[in-house]
């Protein structure tokens, strides 16, 4: 297994090279440009067999992906921020037609004001479109997750599109050590795509995407509900199998020193790395702090999160996006909702942080844990939702 020095974007492009998809249709956007730019170099150099479609917008990119996937091809793309929003019209079509497209996403704030740095607003905005979502903490996890996502999305029980995201610039442009797989291992692991439906199959001609009004539209949404339900188990199964084969374990969640923790921080993406360092520091001081990393946001691992936080007194839910509902961020809303039926539950509070790439430092995390310690002691949540780190 080769050890490589790669940025997040290079790692994602490398995973794409090894996956060798049949079709990639993409349009450049900072900070995800490099993913498909590097990949287009692989196409030009003949290192992959991919048909690369250089389209004129992200709307066209996703449209071309849908068309290609409808033939039974293995299809990938990459984008970020406004680009993902321009794909929005087509994203729910990809999931409803059950097309296993895999998208390499780099999290970036949404305009306005125009900004190129990390927050999770872009992927959160498309969370209800029937796409699976994995938020990778680092380049290694992004690389591994893209390869796993191919396996999950093409699984017959699932057959859904999925996106794997990294935090813009923090992960996408920082170089890390990557423990890569051999080309042959990846090829063997993912196997060939099983064609379930193909619009080019002359032996079994089909129509896709017919007009469907009051009589059957509702019924046609149900397989998507079922597939997303099954996806949770399959993501776990694929992650465990990946761990057995290649030695790196993943799950829906990752618990860090959470088992006996009294106070916890729940986060997604690169912030988890920062939080882990603070947890270690607090543990040395005898403070029972823990971290819950939410790796998979769609399907949402509600029961697993409830279970993981069941013994915690106070938990800070960290949202790197706001949904302007006046009730906190998306992760907070989901977790708070999941806790409703529990007789005993931790005191929850929401920290909306890091919008537009605002740094979250070790000191910031220390402060959050300090407030959690106070909440756990007093049993009193003073601020349910706060915009953390913003200048008043």
């Amino acid at each position: 297994m080769p050890i490589l020095a790669k940025t997040g974007n290079e790692a994602m492009a490398e995973a794409m090279r090894q996956i060798n998809p049949d079709v990639v249709a993409a349009y450049p956007i900072t900070p995800a440009t490099e993913v498909v730019m590097i990949f287009s170099g692989f196409v030009a150099d003949g290192l992959v067999d991919t048909e690369f479609v250089a389209v004129e917008s992200e709307h066209s990119a996703m449209s071309a992906c849908v068309g290609a996937a409808a033939t039974g091809a293995r299809v990938m793309t990459g984008t970020s921020s406004q680009g993902l929003q321009l794909m929005s019209e087509i994203l729910p079509i990809a999931s409803a037609l059950r097309l296993p497209i895999v998208l390499c996403e780099v999290n970036r704030a949404l305009s306005a004001p125009i900004n190129i740095h990390c927050d999770h607003s872009d992927t959160m905005a498309v969370r209800d479109f029937g796409w699976m979502q994995i938020y990778a903490e680092n380049a290694q996890e992004a690389y591994d997750s893209i390869i796993q996502m191919i396996k999950v999305s093409e699984d017959e029980r699932v057959r859904l599109p999925g996106m794997v995201s990294t935090d813009g610039f923090i992960i996408s442009h920082c170089m890390e050590k990557i423990d890569a797989l051999d080309d042959g291992e990846v090829k063997k692991y993912i196997g060939d795509i099983k064609v379930v439906n193909s619009v080019l199959d002359l032996e079994k001609p089909i129509s896709l995407g017919s007009l469907d009004l009051q009589d059957y539209y509702f019924e046609h949404k149900m397989p998507l509900v079922e597939a997303m339900g099954k996806a949770k188990g399959v993501i776990g199964e694929v992650a465990r199998d990946f761990g057995k084969r290649f030695g790196r374990e993943y799950g829906l969640l990752e618990e860090y020193k959470l088992r006996d923790a009294e106070i916890a921080l729940v986060a997604m993406g690169s912030t988890c790395g920062t939080a882990r360092a603070v947890v270690d520091e607090l543990r040395q001081k005898g403070i029972k702090a823990g971290l819950l990393k939410v790796r998979v946001f769609r399907p949402f691992p509600a029961e697993e999160i409830v279970e993981a936080l069941s013994k915690v007194k106070a938990a800070a839910i960290m949202d790197r996006s706001d949904m302007f509902s006046n009730q906190g961020g998306q992760l907070f809303a989901e977790i708070r909702s999941a806790m409703y039926e529990q007789k005993t539950r931790p005191l929850l509070s929401n920290y909306i942080y890091g919008l537009g790439g605002r740094e979250i430092s070790l000191d910031d995390i220390r402060k959050v844990f300090g407030e959690q310690k106070e909440i756990a002691g007093s049993g009193n949540v003073k601020k349910l939702v706060q915009h953390f780190g913003v200048r008043e």
């Binding site: 409803a96 439906n197 089909i206 129509s207 896709l208 017919s210 019924e219 046609h220 149900m222 397989p223």
Partner: protein, 94 residues
């Protein structure tokens, strides 16, 4: 039909449009006059609903009113002269 019986990914078998008779959408209908037809097939090529009928010798013989929506493209494309039209549009209800 319940949702579990539906085809994968919103797919339907090919050719199901044949079961959907769109003729009752029509407010005007093309009227075909066989003697004036020169069998150029313009109407047959341009008809968006494949509603131009051919006989076993591939000669145009009329309109399939089960599917014809009365769009008038056949009339528009028909090259026959005004006094000897092969296709003319008429109101369904006068």
């Amino acid at each position: 039909m319940g949702w579990k019986e539906l085809g994968h990914g919103d797919s339907l078998p090919g050719g199901t449009a044949a079961e959907f008779q769109t003729g009752d959408w029509r407010s005007e209908k093309p009227v075909f006059v066989k003697e004036n037809c020169i069998n150029c097939y313009f109407c047959w090529i341009y008809c968006p609903d494949s509603a131009i009928l051919l006989d076993e010798n591939n000669k145009v013989v009329g309109i399939d009113y089960r599917y014809c929506k009365g769009c008038g493209i056949c009339d528009k494309e028909c090259p026959t002269k005004k006094e000897k039209r092969a296709i003319t549009m008429e109101a369904e209800r006068k």
